[in-house]
Symmetry: C2
Subunit: 506 residues, 2 copies
């Protein structure tokens, strides 16, 4: 096994702005550039940001915050948005500020705001009925449900995965993927027998073994897999997400922490991969021996909430090999990375895995939650992976249109093109302002850079907002870019110019 991150190096090399001067002010071209589509993707989008209040949030946002805080907990509310006026890559807030949105509702808008093709969907009265008549999909699917799935989720399924299950959100997707894994693991332990003993049937009603087996899920330091009880036990992002909530004794291995630039630290980073893989396998053996069998390894292809932490393709290949050796399932959580922002539909397609992961979960840009799985993870009985709604056809109808637009407008090409512009520009800026930012990294437009510390990061995000750029933080000191798939090179240039304005005035 080779741990050298050739792919990752290659990828970053492609993005590196070798020819751009590392000093001196750079002005980026803001007019619409010639693209895959040959023209701006969204008609009538604003030409650029426009800020009309002295502070953001402005007075109207603050007034509405007061109002909402009377009936809800609002500690995380940043801004009130006028969704009727928001369009394409531009968010308009209730104070009339127009911001270029590179955060897009925590990376959950594939086509930005009010995409004309999505709006047109509801001109069809049958679509309107589908939006109104929400079925219990696990029991009573609609006439065209299979076709809808084929045209949306199956049309972009990860190579090698031909089964799926829809859910309503990311946490439910991971929770139910865990359950499918437990059922698969237990069926393996039974030698493929799909019946139950009387003792199992009795004890599970009391939450006791053998009916409720003490299986565990291995996750990584810095991981984020959601916030319901099972998910949160695998989440290792920040204390505020976890504190005071009961959690299970599940193994946590270290996620690789590389030294940059990668080209200079090939050997060190190989060793880091080897160390983390060894620890992972040791932990699985340790938990298995302690009577807490590890049923799955769960990992994000890029740790997003945890700080946009990347690992090499070889690391992921190594994890898959460990899963084969130990009998644990290999689950890739693509809730944030899936749906195109890395320049491929699924980030794990960058990893050259010799076969598909066992399960891939999704949500956010896919509009519906759910997971793809290998046939052997199909539960042998009904009503084991089940709930009232099992997703929502209205989201799948929208996704069908999103997939059509991605293909028609060649949006993955656009992502790669815009990503190149962002990576080159950010690399130049980090060379120019090393006292403020560093560690630019990413795939496609799924890019982050770090402030020199957490306070610097917060300052940058806030000052960007006053320049008309709506971005988001992640980890301790990172700024994450999560634009929509319709974010074009000219938007990237607007962003870079505004960032330079901020950095040059810090």
């Amino acid at each position: 096994m080779r741990f050298l991150s050739r792919n990752l190096i290659g990828h970053l090399r492609n993005h590196a702005a070798k020819s751009v001067a590392a000093t001196g002010s750079v002005r980026y071209q803001q007019t619409a550039t010639k693209l895959a589509s040959g023209r701006p993707l969204i008609a009538n989008e604003p030409a650029g940001p426009a800020i009309v209040t002295k502070t953001i949030p402005g007075p109207e946002s603050n007034r509405k915050l007061q109002e909402l805080s009377q009936i809800a907990e609002t500690g995380s509310v940043q801004l009130f948005v006028d969704y009727e006026r928001s369009l394409g890559n531009y968010l308009v807030d209730v104070d009339g500020n127009t911001l270029l949105d590179v955060y897009t509702q925590i990376s959950s808008l594939p086509l930005g705001y009010s995409h004309p093709d999505l709006l047109r969907l509801l001109d069809d009265p049958n679509h309107v009925k589908a939006f109104i008549n929400r079925p219990a999909l696990g029991a009573f699917p609609g006439t065209d449900w299979t076709d809808r799935l084929q045209n949306s989720l199956m049309a972009v399924a990860p190579p090698g995965l031909r089964n799926l299950c829809t859910m309503s959100c990311g946490s439910c997707s991971n929770e139910n993927a865990f359950k499918a894994i437990y059922i698969w693991y237990r069926t393996k332990e039974r030698g493929g027998d799909t019946s139950f003993t009387a003792e199992e049937l009795e004890t599970c009603m009391h939450n006791q073994t053998p009916g409720s087996p003490p299986y565990t899920i291995l996750s990584f330091s810095g991981a984020f897999h959601g916030r319901t009880m099972g998910c949160l036990s695998a989440t290792r992002s920040k204390a505020i997400h976890k504190i005071d909530i009961p959690a299970l004794d599940w193994p946590m291995a270290n996620f690789p922490q590389y030294k940059y630039p990668l080209e200079e630290y090939v050997h060190e980073n190989q060793q880091e991969d080897a160390k983390c893989l060894e620890e992972t396998e040791d932990l699985i053996h340790k938990y298995n021996a302690a009577g807490k069998p590890v049923a799955a390894i769960v990992v994000e292809p890029i740790q997003a909430e945890g700080g946009d932490n990347h690992a090499s393709p070889e690391f992921f290949q190594g994890l898959q090999q460990i899963s084969k050796r130990t009998g644990a399932a290999f689950l890739i959580d693509e809730v944030q990375t899936g749906g195109g922002p890395t320049g491929k539909m699924w980030c794990h397609e960058h990893f050259n895995l010799p076969e598909a992961p066992d399960i891939v979960t999704f949500s956010k840009k896919m509009l519906t939650g759910g997971y793809y799985f290998k046939e052997e993870f199909k539960p042998p009985q009904g009503y084991r992976i089940y709930n009232t709604w099992m997703g929502d056809p209205s989201k799948v109808i929208m996704l069908e249109e999103v997939v059509r637009v991605i293909q028609r407008d060649r949006l993955l090409e656009n992502v790669n093109e815009s990503g190149d512009v962002l990576m080159k520009g950010l690399t130049t800026l980090q060379n120019q302002y090393p006292q403020h930012i560093n560690s630019t990294r990413g795939r496609g437009t799924f890019i982050a850079f770090d402030g020199t510390n957490g306070a610097k990061r917060d300052t940058i995000v806030n000052k960007l907002k006053l320049q008309g750029i709506h971005s988001g933080g992640c980890g301790d000191k990172s700024v994450r870019l999560r634009p929509a798939l319709i974010f074009q090179p000219h938007h990237a240039n607007i962003f870079l110019n505004k960032l330079e304005t901020v950095l040059s005035n810090l």
Copy 2:
């Protein structure tokens, strides 16, 4: 404390058909009766069921099932539905069968299919935008979000609860209500201090105490609270829901099992209440003493999935008193009972509780998931109860219209009127066919009766389908009726006539 179930007796008395002959065939009036609204609530509804295939599911449903089973687990799929043709109380399947639907997508359609007022919502282009532009509500709510909440969820909030949190589904609602309770409980233990120790911040990242405290939730035998890990540990419905899935050592008390008719067993049922309440309090003390503090008692006002098990108002009053004495929160799970089917918006309003429960969870007929809570359950910091979507404005916009229609059409009165017809008719039928059915019970139209055994129940449900009635099972041998709020007395009479046809031919 009095355990006598006067309210429940009174309720069932109101519904009992004392004056109806207990023998002989009864034909029920099928024409539209004069109602609260004075007319049929849905124009152009079919006059009655119409069955065109010899079996249900018919050939087209079976063909589509084959198709779907290629990509998904379909063990629970019953029927494919033509939602475009379904209207009001009538479901039309893909084979062209028209069925009177008294199950309504597992009780999740408040206004039946294609209600004209809901369809009209999407004539408004701003509503269309709201359906397309799904925000991250916890961070970036829309212009009218507070007004929407006030006009929908807050307009029908349980008396005494003035705070709320929206979620996407029932399981997420319970999972996050549990989290709000853990945070509240821990804050109480800290004497109200809302800061954390370094040890807590460190240990929670490793899923260890004191950062991850070993709190538990007490639930009842037969309970159903959802299927994600926390919810499933509180769920005690059926083994197939729980087997092979890890679960926590949480206390389970016995839910009362009454002898019927209630009037004849007043003393025995008082003793049953007392026994279950005593066991509940003992279990809390036992778990508290064992270092697994019980942070909440969670209970359904009527155990639905578990078999439509009722308990007396005095039992629920007793639980609330126990919660006060032991410091556990009192959480009522109204996911299935909430939204009007019991003749009140919230089933626990039937219980004359001296004060509101601490938390009430909802989903299904409310279209959005979420929970109401007392002010003291508001987390002291942001990002503790949080996820990307935090619900969905499109569901709240629909709920706003549902609430308007409930009030305009006096649908709670309609529920009570139709419920009376159902209870009288079912009481007559169970007297007439005691060899087939018994134990009719309910509030409003939230009614169930039992087959004499599980096989009999299944036969009745299947034969009802061939008569054009779409119902559902629950528990081991119960048939549950969960019609929409627009189910009128003339629909009730159609149901009763069809049921009599089935019973008289068994």
